[in-house]
């Protein structure tokens, strides 16, 4: 059985249909082929090729020296990656699921994020931590956390999350090349989403948001697993005559405030959509910044469509928790449009 990594290379120049998992696999393969300092390791990433098959075929192709399984210990995976980076390598490690990165939290927060700063720039840690995150796949407890906020609030880390196969490829290549540590959040429920595209190592910068759909009435801001729903909602809104712009943040830290603020200043209305719990979630930062920066442009408060403030629910109930098209449309309705009866600015 040929692996994704073996099948793709010759096709990479022309647009090909590729899943996000395939694009990530390709990105790893190309990085391994291009830069011999790159290593890939973690739990089950070698022989098995990862529980999501993202590292499929890499151990065979690049050898056990460069792509290997580790013992089962996440703090050790990150901690040894730090030591390896101190010795000139560029480790790309996998945490098997979001909640299983928590044992590594001390290494991530106290060392990975801070070592450059603590050494006044003398020690560089070009490490990528890949984390399959978020829900929407009917996963059981501990397998569906949206943990972006823990990392985004930690200075020194970059946090990026692709929402499309093309972006998955580009962002992962950029993350591996980046001199800063990158928490690379892979939205699980997009792994098997297919796109016909050319995989390119360069593209919008690793710290840039992109506009996925232009619109003039309202700006919908989203990322990762929730982007698809947000685009659907924009589509549905168009049928109701509302022109919604959709921004894919891609980089959660740093936040591409210029791109987003310009869009919101234009439309005067904005909604942030994400899976993570609303309370102290990433949307809070987006809303707080935009409320300050675009204060005089806002026709309505910035709303957040997010997960409830609850632990991620069991599969049978997850659909209630996740942002839905209806919920986004409902939020759009609440944006105090001029023809609304109550709650316009004028009506104060």
């Amino acid at each position: 059985m040929s692996t994704v990594a073996e099948r793709l290379p010759e096709l990479a120049a022309a647009p090909i249909p590729v899943t996000m998992a395939g694009a990530l696999n390709q990105a790893l393969a190309d990085a391994l082929a291009t830069d011999e300092r790159v290593l890939v390791f973690g739990e089950d990433v070698g022989t098995l090729g990862g529980v999501f098959r993202v590292t499929d075929g890499l151990a065979t192709r690049f050898g056990e020296n460069r792509v290997f399984d580790t013992p089962l210990a996440e703090s050790a995976i990150v901690g040894t990656a730090i030591g390896m980076a101190m010795n000139g390598l560029r480790p790309v490690v996998e945490m098997q699921f979001d909640a299983f990165a928590y044992p590594a939290f001390e290494q991530i927060t106290s060392h990975l994020a801070k070592l450059r700063n603590r050494t006044q720039g003398r020690v560089e840690l070009p490490i990528v931590i890949r984390v399959p995150y978020g829900g929407g796949i009917g996963g059981v407890e501990h397998h569906c956390d949206s943990s972006e906020m823990y990392y985004a609030h930690t200075p020194g880390l970059r946090v990026v999350t692709p929402a499309t196969p093309a972006d998955a490829y580009t962002l992962l290549r950029q993350a591996i090349d980046c001199p800063d540590p990158v928490i690379f959040l892979e939205p699980k429920r997009r792994y098997w989403a297919k796109e016909t595209t050319v995989l390119e190592p360069a593209g919008a910068g690793i710290d840039r948001a992109v506009i996925r759909r232009t619109g003039s009435d309202v700006t919908l801001i989203s990322y990762g697993g929730a982007l698809g729903t947000t685009l659907e909602a924009a589509e549905a809104a168009a049928e109701d005559g509302i022109s919604a712009e959709v921004i894919d943040l891609r980089s959660l830290a740093p936040f591409d405030e210029d791109t987003v603020a310009a869009a919101v200043a234009r439309t005067g209305r904005a909604i942030v959509v994400h899976e993570a719990s609303r309370f102290c979630g990433y949307g809070a930062e987006v809303a707080a910044q935009l409320s300050e920066r675009c204060f005089h442009y806002l026709e309505a408060p910035i709303l957040r469509v997010a997960g409830f403030d609850i632990p991620y629910p069991p599969p049978n109930l997850e659909s209630h928790h996740l942002p839905s098209v209806d919920r986004i449309l409902d939020a759009i309705d609440r944006l105090q449009w001029p023809d609304a009866v109550n709650g316009t600015k004028a009506g104060r």
Binding site: E43, D69, P71, V140, H142, H143, I310, P314, L317
Partner: protein
């Protein structure tokens, strides 16, 4: 609370045996005389019964995944001796701290199998009442349950209660920091905890040789001053003997024991896994020969403790239980969305109350729309 009194005087006596202790050999014959005592006949019969029922339950659960009735199921097939032997060695007042793999053990402890499968069915998380059953929720974050077991056991000591905590974990889980911290706390506080490591050869796809370079996992005990035992994990009699002794020592204030049971996971990691990607058929075959269920069956038959009739009756019971489980699992459950908000805090916060109302309003609209469309 001087933990050292009952320990062997020479440190090296804390080391496990070089080969796993056993009572019944793979062919079902009595193993050469050793330090273990054969459990009573009645116990052996209960062990056998538990294993047969456990295996049937396990097969049924795997079948339910194919019918879409279970989202996922990690089979313990091949590990019946460990799952049943360890649990039957517990006393009424003791606690069990199982992992995701140990549904069979939880069922053997007496919990309703439908409750046990609640989580894997996609319904609410922990189906049973942990305090009533004296069984902690099945634990997924690896090795974290070892600390809960130590804490629960220590609380029993503090409160002057006679309760032992048995924690189950896998070979992979021994690599996590929490296992180390738990063994150390247990030793320092001399808690009545039994650590039962089911070394089934793999952590998903990672074989033991990539997990550790130790002579055996039981060799870790001496580094904490904990007595360690290496046991044949496919020999239910030996597992029972070893765990019973550890429980008795713990109850007598002699502290924790680390047990490594050497066994094998016959199925893939879960139904979603494909074990052929990382191990070959020959290896699996070599373990099928050591099957724990037929081993005990052979021994019991030889000893006249099991005849064809009793065997058939037991099989029939197992079938009946499986059929009942199937039937009960085929009933669609309805999860109440309000449960999402009920148990986050002891008292619902205003924010959660509002979120609940938002959801209920939304559902009312959906229902109304559906009505309309009828």
């Amino acid at each position: 609370m001087n933990p050292s009194t009952s320990l062997p005087s020479r440190p090296a006596d804390l080391l496990p045996s070089e080969v796993p202790l056993s009572l019944i050999d793979p062919a079902g014959r009595p193993a050469p005389e050793g330090e273990l005592t054969m459990p009573a006949d009645e116990v052996l019969q209960r062990l056998y019964r538990g294993m047969v029922l456990g295996r049937r339950f396990d097969v049924q659960a795997t079948a339910l995944t194919k019918q879409g009735r279970l989202a996922v199921y990690p089979s313990a097939r091949g590990q019946e001796a460990g799952e049943i032997g360890a649990v039957l060695a517990l006393r009424e007042q003791d606690w069990l701290f199982p992992t995701y793999r140990d549904s069979m053990a939880v069922v053997a402890r007496g919990v309703d199998p439908v409750e046990v499968l609640c989580l894997l069915r996609g319904d609410w998380h922990c189906g049973y009442d942990p305090a009533r059953e004296r069984v902690a929720p099945q634990c997924t974050p690896l090795a974290t349950n070892t600390l809960h077991a130590v804490g629960l056991a220590h609380a029993a000591t503090v409160k002057g209660e006679d309760t032992v905590a048995l924690v189950l974990l896998g070979d992979g889980a021994t690599s996590e920091g929490d296992t180390h911290e738990a063994l150390n706390f247990a030793a320092v506080f001399n808690t009545p905890t039994v650590f039962f490591v089911q070394n089934n050869g793999y952590a998903i796809s990672v074989p033991l040789a990539k997990q550790t370079h130790a002579p055996s996992l039981a060799h870790k005990g001496i580094g904490y001053g904990i007595r360690s035992v290496l046991v044949d994990g496919n020999d239910a009699a030996a597992v029972y003997a070893v765990v019973s002794a550890a429980v008795a020592r713990a109850a007598a204030g002699e502290g924790p024991t680390l047990i490594e049971a050497v066994t094998y996971r016959i199925e893939s990691h879960t139904n979603a896994d494909d074990a052929t990607r990382y191990r070959d058929r020959a290896e699996v075959e070599s373990w099928l020969v050591k099957d724990p269920v037929s081993r005990l069956a052979n021994y019991l038959t030889e000893r006249g403790l099991l005849d064809e009739q009793a065997g058939a009756a037991l099989d029939a019971t197992a079938e009946a239980q499986a059929a009942q489980l199937r039937a009960r699992m085929n009933v669609d459950t309805v999860s109440d969305p309000r449960d999402l908000f009920r148990h986050v805090y002891a008292q619902q916060t205003p924010a959660l109350r509002r979120q609940e109302q938002e959801l209920l309003a939304e559902l009312a609209v959906t229902e109304a729309t559906e009505e309309d469309h009828r």
